[in-house]
């Protein structure tokens, strides 16, 4: 027994402060044992532009406070001054990494409140854009998980492939990052000539990438060592914190807005929700990898069904003074991070009363992150943040 203890070296934790039931530590700052440091916002290990106020004991985080607001632009205030159509280019900027869900949610909310039915082609094109958006995010975030632990090579491949998808976006929508494609009432264009062919070529490359990243990243001893069993989200937290998306699905919850509240034509697609039974960094990342495969498959299915002709925009009132009837609604869709919701209130005027975004990162990167960081190693912070896929701009908007 003694020898195995020597080999499986267990650190002596008797000098560490006590961990309370809620995960926090009893920290006496005046003892001089602890270091208080700021991690971010200008720091390569922090996703996006946010910062963490850490209390460290050695390498271990005793207490973490998130500080957001570095990207606060006051969108929800600006909407007060913008007409409904003018909000359309503005909402997109709420999340830089994956803007299309903003477009969709906003457009869907407006359409629901004003009773507009969008053409069939528009539905499929919206789904295409949404899934492409998910694809480009996953192409960043799946190898990005390796990147946070020092495996930079997958990031290079992934960002390259993401660039190809952005090229397709550019062709389809006219924009590279901010597509501004899903106008309330429909979309802004049909598939360009030759799009399917080029898309299929890209998807083939991505298929190949999926296999390679599996071999390089997921079947990697060091990567496993770094990510397995780290930052575990127990199933009971899921409802306590309101966790959604891959973070919840990795904990065994079969929750996917696309299945549970089918929007657009998702009910016509054939797919199963990916779940896992233990939500640590590895499994969450692995789940995203499976999502990536699934997304490629969904895009293929969608491409088969998109009509090449037909109306793609419903008739809308004159956009310069479009009034939406008094009412309120909540629209949700499944982004790559989880449930993405828009709470839209109209007071019957040309200007929206309130547009409030429910971004999954609002929960994942504030309350959940603060909880997960307690007791974590400082070197794992980046990995934890990426595994939660936190996106600060949607927290502070």
């Amino acid at each position: 027994m003694q020898t195995s203890n020597l080999i499986n070296w267990q650190p002596d934790r008797s000098k560490f402060p006590d961990q309370l039931a809620d995960g926090s530590f009893k920290v006496d700052l005046s003892s001089g044992k602890y270091v208080k440091i700021w991690h971010g916002p200008n720091h390569p290990g922090v996703t996006g532009n946010m910062s963490l106020e850490l209390t460290l004991c050695g390498d271990e985080v005793m207490d973490a406070k998130t500080h957001v607001g570095y990207l606060h632009r006051g969108f929800e205030k600006l909407f007060e001054r913008r007409k409904f159509i003018q909000c359309f280019p503005t909402v997109i900027r709420m999340c830089v990494a994956e803007p299309d869900y903003n477009e969709y949610n906003y457009a869907a909310a407006i359409e629901e409140l004003s009773g507009i039915k969008i053409p069939e082609a528009a539905k499929w094109l919206r789904m295409l854009a949404l899934e492409m958006s998910r694809l480009q995010t996953l192409l960043r975030i799946v190898p990005g998980q390796g990147g946070t632990t020092g495996l930079g090579i997958g990031v290079q491949w992934g960002v390259y492939l993401r660039d190809l998808i952005l090229d397709r976006f550019e062709e389809l929508t006219g924009g590279r990052i901010y597509h501004m494609y899903m106008l309330p009432g429909g979309v802004r264009g049909l598939l360009p000539d030759g799009f399917r062919k080029r898309m299929e070529e890209n998807l083939k490359e991505i298929d190949d990438f999926v296999q390679r990243i599996d071999r390089v990243q997921y079947q990697n001893a060091v990567f496993k060592k770094r990510t397995k069993g780290i930052a575990v989200i127990p199933p009971e937290w899921v409802d306590q914190y309101g966790i959604t998306g891959p973070n919840a699905r990795a904990a065994g919850f079969n929750r996917d807005v696309r299945k549970d509240y089918p929007y657009l034509n998702y009910d016509q697609l054939d797919f199963e929700v990916n779940t896992d039974n233990f939500s640590d960094i590895y499994n969450r990342s692995r789940l995203r990898w499976r999502d990536l495969q699934q997304t490629v498959d969904l895009i293929r299915q969608i491409m088969d069904k998109i009509p090449d002709k037909g109306d793609f925009k419903a008739k809308t009132p004159n956009v310069l003074h479009w009034k939406i009837e008094k009412g309120e609604t909540y629209i949700r869709s499944e982004s790559s991070r989880g449930e993405y919701g828009y709470y839209v209130v109209s007071d019957g005027s040309e200007y929206p009363r309130r547009i409030n975004l429910r971004g999954p990162s609002y929960i994942h990167a504030v309350s959940l992150l603060e909880r997960l960081l307690k007791g974590a190693n400082i070197a794992d912070i980046g990995a934890i943040m990426v595994s939660l896929q936190s996106c600060p701009p949607e927290i502070e908007r």
């Binding site: 532009n49 606060h72 290079q156 901010y178």
Partner: protein, 226 residues
Amino acid sequence: MESQNNNNNNQEKFRDPNLDKRTVISPDGQQIEVDPLQDYFEQARPQVHKPASKVIEKFLNWARAESLWVLGFGTGCGSIEIPPLTTPRFDAYRFGVAMRPTPRQSSVFIISGYLSVKTLKRAIRSYEQMQNPKYVIGLGSCTINGGMYWDSYNTINRLDYYMPVDNYVAGCMPRPEAILAAFESLKKRIKEGRADGANKYAEHFDWYKANQKKVIKDWNMPDYNW
């Protein structure tokens, strides 16, 4: 006078007790007065540095231009276009552009879009920690005249009021190609010896400071942080 008062009130309101002067007792029993603001920061004003003599400066400028080290501080939306720059598709490394994780080692600060007030405070610190010579590239509409957020209560409108900017790139967001073009343009400017933002900042230090302080209400740091 009124603004002066206002400023004082602000400083009182946003006072951070951790930054107050305090006395500590050293292990050998001596009383030492500690001023955290003095301790953590250096307060000397920035200085204007004269360029080296002609030929040498030309050579150095050439080296500086061909070796641009970019501070990886994603201040706004534009940071999403930085990864493509450094990855296979656009591969800025082959143009002598490299990403650095720290302001001290960087010579180029890319303000990638809008700056909220909270970020501006950090951006100024980062800028001041960069060593002379240093260059600033403003990405997108937001740095020129406020862009999308021109009427927002929390984002600045004109970057050139807070730090000297060498190049602006139009776009929202500028594509990586446009950012590369900005690097090319910046190289030209450096080689011509016109990229002298750091000296300009030192020369007009008071003006920049006044602008910064007008915006950053809780100015709880020394005027110059290295």
